[in-house]
Symmetry: C2
Subunit: 423 residues, 2 copies
């Protein structure tokens, strides 16, 4: 490791670009995922930025490398320890030494944000924290950059994936709170001690950060009233269905008469609300403002690779000046004949064997039928089906053959179907 402050970048030779040294504090789920992800994307990042990121030091409680050593040898420090101390001290030390910092630590920012942001301004370094709220969902960047000039009225969020998973399972399966929590723990969506997730404290820290950015006013975690989901029953879910409502743990930060209000509590949402369809361990945030109407962003709220991706986006932003569209680094062929599932709508004579013959023609082109709806209309019938994915050229060939069958009336209608690919 080198640590010459006058020479922030080491030269690695032109082909691979200058090196940008990243020090990791912490090597748990997120730190480990980052240590895996970053090298796999280093060539791409070097190609678009001319700078090659590399991990030059890792500090854990037990690996014998001190945090001071990692900080000294880095251009940027990724704080992935969590908790208030020693994370706060390390982040302050890194910034005082002129190093950029990226952190995923929501409690640190909800307690000590003003101190840390002031230190970043004082030392002229970047302190980025996309991963601290809603994982890879880019709400921090959007609030700080896209909407920095906007007059924001309200931020509403599902910012805890554990509770959203539990509530989704209770709604879908009628499971009790206890059973849904157990399932979440088995699937890795809840920790062995889920207290801070289910009681709303985790979400409260995130809402404090979002409120600070949205309203440009200091918000400490003690300003956020929170209530958890432990007391909800399957009964509430059943009645929610009768009333056409969905039950979520919702964080709200909004302008109200006399100031702002920041809260976390269970809430029913009407079906039309943009957060009502956010299910499972996903997070989502809606930002409202008169001029923009609203923006909603959603995605995985946790997970090692996902959170590490958010950290990596912050690292790249700290490395390079913004908003230059780099030269293209590759020249991919644009392919026109691709696979798709299809909806096929046929008007046919209503006589036996029609479906079998259509299915046979489809089969000759490699198309297999997934679902069928058939309706009689006097002498005629309507045959509507969905076929499994196949090349478009094959589907078009099958349609030509089907159009030529003597029982087919009019032109077959064909529309693509996008399969369920998000679980």
């Amino acid at each position: 490791m080198t640590s010459d402050p006058a020479q922030p970048f080491r030269t690695e030779g032109e082909p691979s670009g200058r090196a940008f040294r990243i020090g990791l504090l912490g090597h748990g789920t997120v730190g480990g995922a980052l240590a895996e992800l970053l090298p796999s994307r280093a060539d791409h990042i070097a190609a678009i930025t001319g700078i090659r990121p590399e991990i030059t030091g890792v500090h854990t409680r037990s690996n014998g490398t001190t945090a001071a050593e990692v900080i000294a040898g880095a251009d940027l420090v990724a704080e992935l320890i969590g908790g208030l101390e020693p994370a706060r001290t390390y982040v302050l030390e890194a910034m005082a030494a002129g190093k950029h910092v990226v952190t995923a630590n929501k409690q640190l920012l909800a307690h000590h944000g003003e101190e840390l942001w002031a230190a970043a301004r004082e030392h002229g370094v970047q302190l980025r924290f996309e991963a601290a709220v809603a994982g890879v969902v880019p709400v921090i960047r959007v609030l700080q950059e896209s909407l920095s000039g906007a007059h924001i009225d309200r931020v509403t969020g599902i910012v805890n994936g554990t509770t959203n998973f539990i509530l989704t399972r209770m709604a879908e399966t009628g499971a009790t709170y206890a059973d849904a929590l157990q399932e979440a723990q088995q699937l890795g969506y809840a920790e062995a001690d889920p207290t801070d997730d289910v009681n709303g404290k985790d979400a409260a820290a995130k809402m404090a950060i979002l409120a600070r950015l949205a309203f440009d006013t200091p918000v400490h975690i003690t300003d956020v009233a929170y209530e958890g989901i432990e007391h909800l029953t399957g009964d509430d879910m059943a009645y929610a269905k009768d009333l056409d409502l969905g039950l979520k743990l919702i964080g709200t930060a909004e302008r109200v008469e006399g100031g702002i209000a920041v809260r976390v509590h269970p809430a029913f949402l009407y079906r039309g609300h943009p957060l009502a369809s956010v299910n499972g361990p996903y997070n989502a945030v809606t930002v409202e403002s008169e001029a923009i109407t609203e923006i909603t962003m959603s995605g995985p709220g946790a997970g090692g690779p996902q959170t590490a991706s958010a950290v990596m986006g912050d690292i790249i932003s700290a490395m390079i000046p913004p908003a230059s569209t780099p030269e293209t680094t590759q020249s991919l062929a644009v392919v026109k004949d691709v696979e798709s599932a299809f909806y096929v709508h046929l008007e046919v004579a209503d006589r036996p064997g029609v479906l079998a013959q259509v299915a046979q023609v489809l089969g000759l082109q490699g198309a297999s039928v997934k679902s069928v709806v058939q309706k009689g209309l006097g002498e005629n019938a309507r045959l509507v089906m969905v076929v499994h994915p196949l090349l478009e050229s094959k589907m078009l060939a099958a349609v030509e053959l089907i159009a030529g069958l003597d029982f087919v009336r009019g032109r077959p209608r064909v529309i693509r179907v996008i399969e369920e690919q998000f679980v």
Copy 2:
């Protein structure tokens, strides 16, 4: 107007900050909205950045100010003319003169993007274009910054609000294509000549831009195969419901064997797809990558103030260095007692007058009942209702009174309801 290139900022005195001069090319829907929005936010922007944006020149076809004059007097040029020429020439001239450019012009970038991005790199200026795709939905910034290091597999989008409005109305009301188009025109969601919207060409330009950013390879509009919605029938909508599918005009840019495929066409989506619930004139884009799983962003895809907000976000980003969290500029009070609608769940004795008494107690606190579900359970009954918004303190007082009524069994259960506020 001053145009001394050696003095990019005029000093306006400390309180209001340095001035940042913005030249507008075009003063239609978006330009007019920006000319209204920007001055209303200038104090806030000056407070957080120390720099005050001001519009120092406007060029229209008929106002007598030339584009060259506007460019000469600006630090940043907002190109809001649309079309290929003279927009392309003006943008090139502005960048050659060392001015940043913000544009909302998708056709310009889909045709001439590589030339323009190369010019921006050559002259060391920023060329930002958030408003060119999906209005205020921050997909450009997220692709260029948050996900610049990611290996993206697929981008899927509803990127034309006109067609999404038409398809939504056809699905909701059973309207024909022609009637839904007419309604869209009456509401201002479709232009008098809607050709480029309904035939998919507008969406194709946007997908070319998204594919370029996602895959880091040149994509020209002629690389994008497109198909419109003009041939869809209400019949397709009805069958879609039978098959539990939703019909949208979908743009797809994805890696396939041999390269990438970029297309726009109508497609059915299964209900679980993140774009299936995007209705009306909204736009939405889903980005998939193995490490991040997926991110979805949605919001208004058009509209003067919305598009102008996207332009304003780009302007501020061009003004200031990134990602410093500015000092707070205000100190808003955090209010704890706020209004909310409530779900109230009561176990009561099953006898006449119970609902009336509960409603009376609620009424005393100013709470009015919106909807009620009552179920008999032998001697007991369950009364579940939603009440219209009132202060939480008043609701809690009402609940205390209700808990004391002699026919109420057990503790009333109260959960907040978030009202439909998005139309």
